[in-house]
Symmetry: C2
Subunit: 408 residues, 2 copies
């Protein structure tokens, strides 16, 4: 039969095991970041190819595809490694389902590429296929962030997820703007969608700033290339007014280059964040091992002492050792509870996102709104009622059962 | 490389695996219930032995000890079975630490029993040692309830945990009252503690009613023996006024018998609840297997169809099958999300308990209150401010950092 002490040490080992799983997760997040980056680029190139009727970026697109395919294979390998670990994890079912969504998207990709090569798709439709696939990949990162049990690591994963999501909105903006510049005109819904993408980037990077380690957030700020941002703002202004001014053919290249420089800089930050996350995991693992060794050594010393005393006066054996084990167990219980409390706080940011996503879905179904309109409507409600976005989302969800679906 | 479909099916298998772990947990909860019941009885007997200076219940107590020891061994075996499963579970560390607390208590038990046999302990101190051990055992049940991923099962575990906790307050009341009747007097703190135990039972059974399956709650209500309750209320009235009236020696036996009859009836309900929980797990597992089989069959049929069509017109292969997999994956994602939302609601009851426990701890430390006083003070604040107990607890916790600890 095992003793209290052995279970106490097993608890510590469990924590270390969880940290080791998180290290594997942070590697996966890195691989997904690289693959997403390549797909984002292919999406923008495809949009320009389609919007220019094959006149522009056709060769660049053909060079980009093998880049994507190499990373595609890495992602599949990482999924299989994760699958071996995750079978008994609490969110295993959700994680596997997220992976199934991604694989389904990947299985459709060759057909999408054929259609793009044959100029059979509208830019919007092609971009949507890529965006769905990337949303699936970020869904896997979201699930990883949602499953971390260590609050510091969870905080970094939440920051990382929001950074990747913000970068993806920037990527969508690049593709959307590129198609607009290449066709030379934009309609009202296209303008609205563009503004929505700018707003969403801003929101994601705010959450990143809130959760990222301060050194990392500072690195991100330092990287902001002011001159580049000014050029992007100028092109945004021009792009949002397309059709009302004479079209400058060079602008599609300028837009693509500026946005790509910005996205590449973001990719560097992602790499730094992934390296930082990995270091954090390794530091926590090392800390766990040290604590475990210290505790074992302290207990062995007490046992020796008790043994030495035993040869003299037997009445004194045990109580001090017993007391020490109990103190350790209670300290550990307090520490685990504090971690779990802190984790709740961190996870609140993820819950907020879940609530807003679901409320958007309700508004889209009940009022036949587009995703942009649903989000704007939530934001408007929050401003009017001076409530947090998550609170408004909660109210919308609680009303969903009593609202009849929109009949259209 | 695995396909989207294989991950989709793996997600379903993960769910089934989780349900199988929950079945094992429900068996453990049953074993803990039986052991707790035996310890509760030994505690009351020990209290009477000590309060009567060894005059009463000494033989009954000696017969009870081997009963406890048999169940003790079963609990240890169950812990080891659980430990094999839990090493990779998300709350593994917390669970192992809870088990360490229990084992530490069990390792101290022989010494406590020696002290009771030698009449070296006050009834209050002996009762406290047993109550701590039982609190540790219920802590394991709490952790099991906190880790369940299926909302229906989590609901039953929350109900079960609160029922066991309510029964434990009833057990503490039996021991506390027995000591009072056996000594023939009670002081003001003793009266206050007695009232606190009655109040706490009431609160726990309310939560049970809220979460238990309606059939089970009805069975619990049907079992209420009105005549027994009237006798208990009468004895409570006498007990709370002890010292002001002549003592009737037979009352200690009457009190012990009435309370024991009530606790034994509760033990029956616990058994029903455990059986119910086990059935629920088995039903969900069977449902999962059926769904898995149906999905596999449907997909194989589609594959055959696609194959048949393939021999004729190759252009039609695939898309219908692809669409079906995607629909299944999305349905599964929605189902998993709905489960996770429902789970949050159920777990709110557990979070409430955690908050109240921690706020009590803060009040005890900062204002040097006893546990009863801390709880009453929280209740009073909630009534005065017309807030929920959990909200008041949250406020106390958020103030804890700014309050200086009580200097005594």
């Amino acid at each position: 039969m095992k003793s209290a002490l052995s279970y106490f040490l097993a608890a510590r080992q469990c924590e270390i095991g969880e940290l080791e799983r998180l290290t594997a997760t942070s590697t996966l997040v890195g691989v997904i970041g690289r693959f997403t980056h390549a797909l984002q680029r292919e999406r923008a190139m495809s949009n320009i190819v389609l919007a220019s009727q094959g006149e522009r970026f056709a060769a660049a697109r053909l060079e980009q595809i093998p880049q994507c395919d190499g990373l595609h294979a890495q992602v599949l390998t990482s999924f299989e490694a994760l699958a071996r670990e995750a079978a008994s994890a609490r969110n295993g079912a959700r994680l596997f389902n997220r992976i199934a969504v991604v694989l389904d998207g990947l299985e459709r990709l060759p057909r999408i590429r054929e259609q793009i090569a044959a100029l059979e798709l509208a830019p919007h439709a092609a971009a949507q296929a890529f965006s769905r696939l990337i949303a699936g990949l970020l869904g896997v990162v979201f699930e990883a962030a949602d499953s971390a049990g260590d609050p510091d690591i969870s905080r970094e994963l939440v920051a990382m997820f929001h950074f990747m999501q913000g970068k993806e909105f920037a990527g969508q903006e690049r593709a959307h703007g590129a198609a607009a510049f290449a066709t030379g005109h934009i309609d009202a819904p296209g303008q609205q969608h563009w503004r929505h993408l700018i707003e969403q980037q801003h929101h994601c990077f705010q959450v990143f700033d809130e959760f990222a380690d301060s050194a990392l957030a500072a690195a991100e700020h330092a990287r902001h290339d002011r001159a580049l941002l000014v050029r992007i703002e100028r092109l945004r202004r021009i792009g949002l007014a397309l059709g009302s001014m004479p079209v400058d053919e060079a602008q599609v290249d300028a837009w693509y280059e500026c946005c790509t420089a910005r996205l590449d800089a973001m990719r560097d930050i992602e790499d730094q964040a992934a390296a930082h996350l990995k270091q954090l995991c390794e530091r926590q693992i090392a800390r766990g091992h040290t604590a475990l060794r210290d505790q074992q050594a302290a207990l062995e010393a007490l046992q020796r002492e008790a043994g030495a005393r035993h040869t003299g006066r037997s009445a004194l054996i045990g109580p001090q050792l017993e007391r020490s084990v109990l103190d350790l167990v209670h300290d550990q219980a307090r520490r685990l509870q504090a971690m779990s409390d802190e984790l709740e706080t961190v996870r609140a940011a993820l819950n907020e996102r879940k609530l807003v996503e679901r409320a958007k879905g309700v508004l889209m179904a009940h009022r036949s709104l587009t995703e942009d309109e649903a989000y704007r409507s939530l934001r408007q409600m929050a401003m009017n009622q001076k409530r947090r976005l998550a609170d408004v989302a909660q109210i919308v969800l609680s009303m969903a059962d009593v609202l009849p679906p929109h009949s259209s």
